[in-house]
């Protein structure tokens, strides 16, 4: 036990207490949380900054408007319902198709309009929101993810999480839905996290439920060596999100849409630490490097360069599979 604690320390692994006290408290002013916790606000800011986001079909504020969702999704075969203040992927309903009057969920289940409406009402009631506050329901464009991930995703949308520290992309992982995560790309719920080589944009290691894996648990496809297209552009996009919400410790979730290219899905003020397991390395090294580089440049390109300098200087590769 003690020797493992020492090893974790030596590997620069950051624990939750340390993340909260050392990074979130000093760098994430509480007043800015609203910008990322409220996904409507995030969307608005992103559009204002010229950053692409999934198109908003409609916003439902009150229970009496819940039935209006049918009017909002008119002309769209598929869509997503999500709480404006949700966390951890909770309360997200993905409708992939419609058959007669039924709405087909990501997992193939058919829902009636009343059932979708009930889900919206639950969202409005605050079942999925932080602290159980009454919430709003967002109805938006369903991302058609890039085919590169087809062989490694079970139903839902794979996304790319980049941890941006003080405006510098620090670490990244590809999150792949599994059967046990119910199509959601959240590590807590059993999604696969694949570490990404920050210099090349290729996946390295993978983790599922905190344990190292080599193959996708549902398909058996290898998870290493997967090249993410347009990686430099994604890094730059992640770095630019720091301007939307100047939180020092920020999680940026992006998707690669087959038609629209990279889109910002949401921002997270309390990104988790599973990214370290996915990459087989602790965060401390890169975070210290970024701290040492302060004052940090204002141009997003220059901030990405700060990150590159760190990873280019690393001699040892992450712990191999």
């Amino acid at each position: 036990m003690l020797s493992r604690i020492r090893k974790l320390k030596a590997a620069g692994v950051v624990g939750i207490n340390n993340r909260n006290r050392g990074y979130i408290m000093p760098h994430n002013p509480r007043a800015l949380y609203a910008r990322v916790d409220d996904k409507v606000e995030t969307k608005r800011l992103a559009i204002a900054a010229g950053i692409a986001v999934p198109e908003l079909y409609g916003l439902i504020h009150a229970v009496r408007e819940a039935k209006d969702f049918e009017r909002m999704v008119e002309g769209h075969k598929d869509f997503v319902v999500k709480p404006a203040h949700g966390s951890g992927g909770k309360g997200i309903l993905v409708i992939t198709d419609r058959r007669r009057d039924m709405y087909i969920k990501g997992d193939g289940h058919a829902l009636t309009a009343a059932e979708v409406q009930h889900h919206i009402e639950n969202v409005l009631g605050g079942v999925y929101s932080l602290g159980g506050q009454p919430d709003q329901a967002i109805i938006e464009y369903r991302v058609k993810f890039d085919r590169v991930f087809e062989a490694v995703s079970y139903r839902g949308v794979p996304d790319i999480r980049v941890l941006v520290y003080r405006g510098v992309p620090a670490m990244a992982m590809l999150r792949l839905p599994t059967r046990s995560s119910d199509g959601r790309a959240n590590l807590h719920q059993g999604a696969v996290g694949a570490g990404i080589d920050m210099l090349t944009g290729a996946t390295t290691l993978a983790v599922c439920k905190n344990r190292r894996i080599e193959e996708h648990p549902d398909f058996g496809t290898p998870l290493g060596g997967l090249q993410i297209p347009g990686w430099p552009a994604l890094l730059l996009l992640a770095a630019r999100c720091h301007e939307l919400a100047p939180l020092g410790y920020l999680g940026v979730d992006m998707v690669l849409d087959a038609e629209l290219g990279p889109l910002i899905l949401e921002l997270n003020a309390r990104p988790g630490l599973g990214i370290q397991i996915a990459n087989g390395r602790g965060l401390r090294g890169v975070l210290n490097h970024i701290d040492a580089a302060a004052p940090l440049p204002t141009a997003p390109e220059a901030r990405v360069a700060v990150m590159r300098a760190y990873y280019e200087g690393l001699t040892e590769a992450p712990v191999p599979l």
Partner: protein, 519 residues
């Protein structure tokens, strides 16, 4: 800087708490452990007389200040008599009266006393008695007293040595003529002898008084009061043995009264007798400390929760333990990393366990949660709005509790009633959260968090139930400041949580060969 500030704050808070606790232990004699018993003296005065069929008034001198002892309590046992306790001429007296009394009468006065925790350097007499006027002695007493006092005065340095020398001389084995005159054949153990000494000392303008007291000796029956002499030297009173002239008081001397009045005066009674019996027994020291505090009327005593009404005290016995439950939660969450449903829910369940006892508490908790969950899943199909749905679960929780109570009443299991103490609103929220987790992350995660909360509640219960701890916090509420310091320091802990050490294992250690995800 902030680190230092927090550490200093924690240290200051701890130091303040410890200082207050130390003062209470030393000055009030509060025990650190429960069930340490302290010796209490019980002195009982029995007054016997034959009534004369008339109105009877019994006037009895009762103690006020007990010297090196502190009065815990007193009892007056007197059937058919009215009682009036008051102070007359700086003297506390009890007056029993009745219109008609017939035959042998018995009245009792019982006193409970404990030694004062710190030796008081005599009674701090704010009131300095005026020196008595030299009495107009008659011859040959006048010259006898003058000669005796004159001789002693040459040999003594101060009032106390003067008194001591005088007493030695007057009690000499081979008395001279002067002493014989002064002695006047008085019994030297009697009150009259002490009165005589006071009379003689007045010749040297020395204020003196007669003190009655009980020598405490376990299981002593039919004791009589011991008469003692006290002399004032201008700053304080000092006791002297009227038969030897030795300074001080007898061991275990409980001062009964300092009055010139007779000990007992009865109107309408004959064959009067008073006797004292002494016994010693053990009593809870907290009661003793409480009485000491009241007697000394200190600031410390005002911090004692015994000043509250009894049922409020009982509330605080529970309330003061809640922070310790919080300590368990804080520890399990920040140091261990165990997930719980809600921050304080385990504490509230733990409080309920105090009443239900553990095994029953766990059984009832599981029963209510399980039935609540099943209703919640059914309600999900009705697609109700959040708040009315929560309220429906609440109704079910209350109904299940009622049914359990009714069934256990039929079966004669009285433990079933204690279910009423479960925090229903909290249970309702637990059910709701569990069902959301159940849907979102599967039954495994829901049960894991439910069990996590339950185990933290059990642990919290064990801590909050701890008798030593309850005793300690009730006597020393300031000890919660130490807890505050612990929380401040814990709030600055940035090390790994124990669960994280397992979670991050694969970063530093080669993954196990089968490399499968854990279930």
């Amino acid at each position: 800087m902030k680190r230092l500030q927090a550490t200093i704050l924690a240290l200051l808070v701890t130091a303040a708490a410890l200082a207050l606790m130390y003062a209470k232990i030393t000055r009030l004699g509060l025990p650190l452990l429960p069930n340490q018993l302290e010796q209490v003296w019980s002195v009982e005065a029995k007054i016997e007389f034959d009534a004369s069929r008339h109105a009877t008034v019994v006037d009895f001198d009762i103690p006020d200040k007990l010297g090196q002892y502190v009065r815990l309590d007193e009892y007056f046992i007197s059937r058919g008599y009215g009682l009036n306790v008051g102070i007359r001429d700086h003297d506390r007296r009890a007056e029993w009266s009745t219109r008609q009394a017939r035959g042998a009468q018995r009245l009792y006065y019982r006193l409970e006393a404990v030694p004062q925790s710190e030796d008081d350097p005599g009674e701090p007499s704010k009131h300095v008695p005026a020196p008595p006027n030299v009495p107009a002695y008659e011859e040959p007493l006048a010259s006898a007293i003058q000669d005796t006092l004159g001789n002693v005065r040459d040999e003594s340095a101060n009032v106390f040595t003067f008194v001591s020398q005088t007493l030695v001389k007057l009690n000499a084995q081979a008395p001279n003529d002067n002493v014989m005159i002064i002695r006047n054949n008085l019994d030297r153990g009697s009150e009259a002898w002490v009165d005589r000494l006071i009379y003689v000392l007045a010749g040297a303008s020395i204020p003196a008084r007669r003190v009655r007291g009980v020598i405490l000796e376990d299981r002593a029956a039919n004791q009589h009061l011991t008469t003692w002499l006290e002399v004032h030297n201008g700053t304080r009173w000092e006791g002297f043995d009227p038969q030897t002239g030795n300074r001080g008081y007898p061991d275990n001397f409980l001062r009964w009264s300092v009055s010139d009045e007779p000990l007992l005066h009865i109107e309408g009674g004959r064959n009067v007798s008073v006797s004292f019996s002494v016994s010693r027994y053990a009593k809870s020291p907290t009661m003793v400390a409480r009485a000491r505090g009241v007697a000394n009327d200190t600031f410390l005593a005002s911090t004692m929760l015994y000043n509250l009404p009894v049922n409020t005290q009982n509330v605080y016995r529970v309330l003061l333990m809640v922070p310790f439950g919080a300590l368990v939660v804080a520890f399990m969450r920040t140091i261990v990393g165990l997930p719980t449903l809600g921050t304080f829910m385990p504490i509230l369940v733990a409080i309920a366990f105090r009443e239900t006892e553990l095994a029953w508490g766990i059984a009832l908790f599981i029963l209510i949660t399980a039935s609540g969950l099943s209703l919640r899943f059914y309600l999900e199909r009705l697609q109700l709005l959040l708040v009315p749905r929560l309220c429906s679960v609440l109704v079910l929780v209350v109904l299940v509790m009622t049914i359990i109570s009714l069934v256990s009443a039929k079966l004669g299991i009285d433990k079933g009633f204690s279910i009423a103490l479960f925090p229903i609103v909290i249970l309702t929220m637990v059910i709701e959260r569990m069902s959301v987790i159940w849907e979102e992350s599967g039954p495994g995660q829901a049960l894991k968090e439910g069990m996590g909360s339950l185990s933290v509640a059990i642990l919290g219960y064990l801590v909050m139930k701890n008798e030593h701890l309850t005793h300690l916090v009730f006597l020393f509420p300031e000890s919660l400041l130490i807890l505050l310091a612990v929380f401040i320091l814990m709030g600055r802990y940035t090390g790994y949580r124990l669960m994280e050490v397992a979670r991050f294992k694969d970063i530093v250690e080669a993954p196990s060969s089968d490399a499968k995800p854990h279930p």
